[in-house]
């Protein structure tokens, strides 16, 4: 695939993909572009709004039917459910680890196997998340084990 970058005085950055048909390679490029542009809307108690890149989210937790996004230094409320987060951002590394939690696999610093088939994940910000016995095999599958 030929990659050309043109430096022009344009009002807005633009990406044009030229191809005969959408083959696997082009679809992959498209999905990368789309995922790179995807943002998750979050807000705080005082209605301060923010658009987060999925990569900024370490994990999401559902507490009393409200979903919260945990970043390195902040917590944001989101309108998305855990199921929506899991299905939309699965290709970006989001993985269900318990009934009330979805973890971004890229936000994990290290994993520790615990007895009883449970797994303890230490996130980039040092927080620890326990992956239940039920969801352990799913995580292993995602990691290609």
């Amino acid at each position: 695939m030929k990659i050309t970058v043109e430096h022009k005085d344009v009002p807005e950055n633009e990406i044009v993909l030229r191809c005969r048909d959408l083959d696997d390679e082009m679809l992959h490029v498209l999905s990368l572009l789309r995922s790179g542009m995807q943002t998750i809307c979050g807000w705080t108690e005082d209605k301060q709004m923010v658009f987060l890149r999925p990569g900024e989210v370490l994990y999401a937790e559902s507490i009393e039917e409200k979903a919260w996004l945990y970043c390195e230094n902040a917590v944001w409320r989101t309108a998305l459910t855990l199921a929506e987060l899991e299905s939309r951002y699965e290709p970006l590394g989001f993985c269900r680890v318990s009934r009330s939690m979805v973890v971004n696999l890229h936000g994990i610093r290290q994993l520790k196997s615990c007895a009883g088939s449970r797994i303890e994940a230490t996130m980039r910000n040092g927080e620890k998340v326990m992956i239940s016995r039920h969801y352990g095999p799913l995580l292993r599958e995602r990691l290609g084990m």
Binding site: L92, G93, L105, H106, I108, Q110, L111, K112, S113, C114, A115, G116, S117, R118, I119, R133, R140, R142, L143, G144, M145
Partner: protein, 144 residues
């Protein structure tokens, strides 16, 4: 239904360990009997061993829930319970008749080694699994 399923899962886990511990006891009882020229194991003794193993497995399930061997308090209760129940059971029910004092000491040493082996096995298994998990995680993070 949920209660029943919880009870069923508890039963499966407890019975699994109960079978393991009972088998070990029966094997040692059979060896001590065979060494004394007797080639039969008393059915009552086997039932007593099964009952004591059931109690111990239930305690293990309670103090080390879901096999969480990292709890130091749980581990201490588990080790003390094993000694009290199995040494106590052997004394009260007379599981190893005719065994000399050195034989009793050897059996206790084997019990302690067995307990240590169970704990060590869990630690080694977790350590190996942790290594494999982190290797796969790094690979996943680099590939993306």
């Amino acid at each position: 239904m949920k209660q029943f399923l919880r009870f069923y899962c508890w039963g499966i886990e407890v019975k699994l360990y109960m079978s393991l511990y009972t088998t070990a006891l029966v094997v040692f009882q059979a060896i001590t009997e065979a060494l004394q020229g007797r080639f039969a194991v008393n059915a009552w003794i086997m039932l007593e061993m099964l009952l004591v193993s059931f109690v111990f497995s239930a305690i293990q399930y309670a103090v080390l829930p879901a096999g969480n061997w990292s709890s130091k308090k749980g581990l201490a209760v588990w080790a003390v319970s094993a000694n009290v129940l199995y040494i106590g059971g052997a004394l009260v029910f007379g599981w190893f008749p005719g065994v000399p004092l050195w034989g009793d000491i050897l059996l206790i040493a084997l019990l302690e080694c067995g307990l240590a082996a169970i704990w060590f096995g869990e630690q080694v298994a977790c350590w190996r699994d942790t290594r494999a998990l982190n290797r796969s995680l790094r690979k996943f993070q680099q590939e993306a």
